[in-house]
Amino acid sequence: MIIEVNNLVKRYGDLTAVDHLSLAVNDGEVFGLLGPNGSGKTTTINCILSLLEYDQGEIEIFGQPMTPESYNIKRDIGIVMQNVAVYNELTVYENIDYFCGLYIPNNKLRKKLVLEAIDFVGLDEYSKFYPKKLSGGLLRRLNIACGIAHKPKLIILDEPTVAVDPQSRNKILEGILELNRQGATIIYTSHYMEEVEHICSRIMILDKGKAIATGTNGELKAMINMGEKITVQSNYMSAEQLAKISQLPNIVSAEHNSPLLVIKSSRGTNNLETVLDFIKKERIQHSKIYSELPTLNDVFLELTGKELRD
């Protein structure tokens, strides 16, 4: 076990930011903390890192209690903050070298690690640039390089792709997977469900400081009734037709907000075929029809009654 958190509670006055949260992160996994803004992801991370005082709970990292003085534990942790945390007066190389130097006293080894980190995040051409000269995406990459240059066993990335262009985002996500392949255990917090679905081997969904579900991508989706979402583009449909669709086998709900008819089905086979047959039989005018498997947003929606995107 790399991290074990038991019954963590963090309050800010009357607000409970983290509410009796327990989690366990296994060696070698990419563990995702998914939740909307304000759900307690960053607060949880800050408690784990012993930056924040908390009201209740125990936190262990690498099998030892985590305290601010746990320098042996800290030596093997890399942190990438939500906000870019670099010195504007230092170049790309100097920034990475400075932070790496807080972990690696050996100059020769440090130089090698810094160059590897620069190469890893693709900032070779920019090593003499000052942060102000970098674009948002490149700045995020520098932020990551500063956190991972010392090759930690545990890397915590707190929303590292906020306000990043798609190209840099893909580069960052691929980099995270590569770090994991190289042996690092990753904790990844985000409110972007696509990212979490893409890179995390196990996911905890948070809402209002509480863990509402934990599991692999497949396990989370298996927790809800919805098996398939069928969307039909149709401008007109009578109320009678809509009611009939709702009564088809395995159909859970059908809603028509012109021009979209959204049909949710429970698990089962041939649901799409059944819907197609009905549309053909009723001669309902339509353009596109497509089917989707449930997303983590659907999981969040079913478990909390609200959209994750909100």
Binding site: N46, I79, A85, Y98, L102
Partner: protein
């Protein structure tokens, strides 16, 4: 680890243009401004003979003693008066035109006519009073013992001083020095910009950068000592440059105790840097508010020390003496002042002692706030 943090802090601070402006360029510019503004201030202290007139009438012409006394006071390079002998109408006209500070009419008693009070009319009046007292004394003595006339007349010109002035210093009085001393004291406390930045960069509840440093396996005390050492080195260098500029470019006189002047600057620099650190640790607001507080407190302290109005230093010392000792900018200013004017060190030592207590308070206060390992909120 010390060297690693120290070197990178040097790089960071030296490349921080805003900090370098406030800690080095601003005091230099202000020094140049002071030099231009106060260039003629000392010239105001040179005594200039007072323009007066005497009404040329029968009484004046017949009063030989007064005529002689007045003529003697109006002759030579160190004369007291520039005398114009004129009719009453002409004397009135000169007074209206402000060409003279006053005119004298020889009557019984001798009258002085002025159109406003001030130093010059007071000097003229003192001259007349002195003359009248002497005449009165002579008359009294002659009435009592007419035989003394010859002896008295021969001794009239010999004035005997019964009070001896002993100067506490060999230094020449200089009206502009205090302005420059307050400037140095202000520059010392602008070192607070450096101390402020050090704390901002180490307090996880202030900046994400500091949070990243807090999760690194380095003891906070080691980090702060390395960083503050870099800040102090930079600020001491800046202060040394300022002293060199003042002494050799602007020709500001620091007296003969140059070693103590440098020691005072070093202690002032430490006080300034630690003061900024305390403000940063104490005030949980944005950087802009902290900077405003630092500048505000330093400038108010400089004002009370006489930076904008020299006499303020003496007003504070007279009306609220305790404030003189509670104002670290004034303590520094006064320390430079003592080094220039006094041959003894008692007042200087008192200033430095109190300033050292301030440094201890700033350091202990700062560390007691930042030593906490965890924060209630980030």
């Amino acid at each position: 680890m010390f060297a690693h943090i120290f070197i990178y802090r040097l790089k960071c601070l030296l490349r921080d243009k805003e900090t370098i402006f406030w800690t080095l360029l601003f005091p230099l510019l202000l020094a140049v401004f002071f030099n231009i503004a106060f260039a003629n201030l000392n010239k105001g202290e040179i005594f200039k003979a007072i323009d007066i007139a005497i009404v040329d009438d029968v009484n004046y012409q017949s009063n030989q003693y007064f005529k002689t006394a007045l003529n003697e006071a109006s002759q030579g390079d160190d004369r007291l008066f520039n005398l114009t002998v004129a009719s009453k109408e002409k004397a009135d006209q000169l007074l209206i035109n402000n060409s003279i500070s006053g005119y004298i009419v020889v009557e019984n008693p001798i009258n002085l006519v002025v159109n406003r009070s001030g130093l010059n009319p007071n000097i003229i009046k003192s001259f007349i009073d002195n003359y009248m007292q002497t005449v009165s004394s002579v008359n009294s003595i002659l009435l009592a013992d007419p035989a003394k006339q010859q002896e008295l007349l021969s001794s009239l010109g010999n004035r005997q001083q019964y009070i001896k002035e002993i100067s506490g210093t060999a230094a020449e009085p200089n009206n502009i020095l205090n302005y420059f001393y307050t400037l140095i004291a202000m520059a010392c406390f602008y070192g607070g910009f450096l101390g402020m930045r050090e704390i901002t960069d180490i307090q996880a509840d202030i900046s994400p950068l500091a949070a990243r440093i807090n999760v690194a396996p380095v003891h906070k005390l080691k980090t702060i000592i390395s960083s503050m050492s870099a800040s102090l080195l930079i600020h001491l260098t800046e202060m040394l440059l300022l002293l060199i500029f003042l002494r050799f470019v602007l020709q500001v006189d620091f007296g003969s105790k140059i070693g103590f002047v440098i020691l005072t600057t070093v202690i002032g620099s430490i006080a300034g840097v630690t003061f900024g650190a305390l403000i940063s640790a104490l005030v949980k607001k944005s950087e802009g508010i902290k900077v405003a507080i630092l500048i505000g407190v330093t400038m108010f302290g400089s004002f009370l020390a006489g930076m904008m109005y020299q006499n303020m230093k003496y007003i504070v010392a007279q009306k609220i003496p305790v404030l003189s000792y509670l104002n670290p900018v004034n303590l520094l200013t006064d320390a430079f002042y003592c080094l220039y004017y006094y041959d003894t060190f008692s007042r200087y030592a008192l200033n430095m002692g109190i300033l050292s207590i301030f440094i201890v308070i700033f350091c202990v206060g700062t560390y007691s706030i930042i030593r906490r390992r965890k924060y209630a909120s980030l």
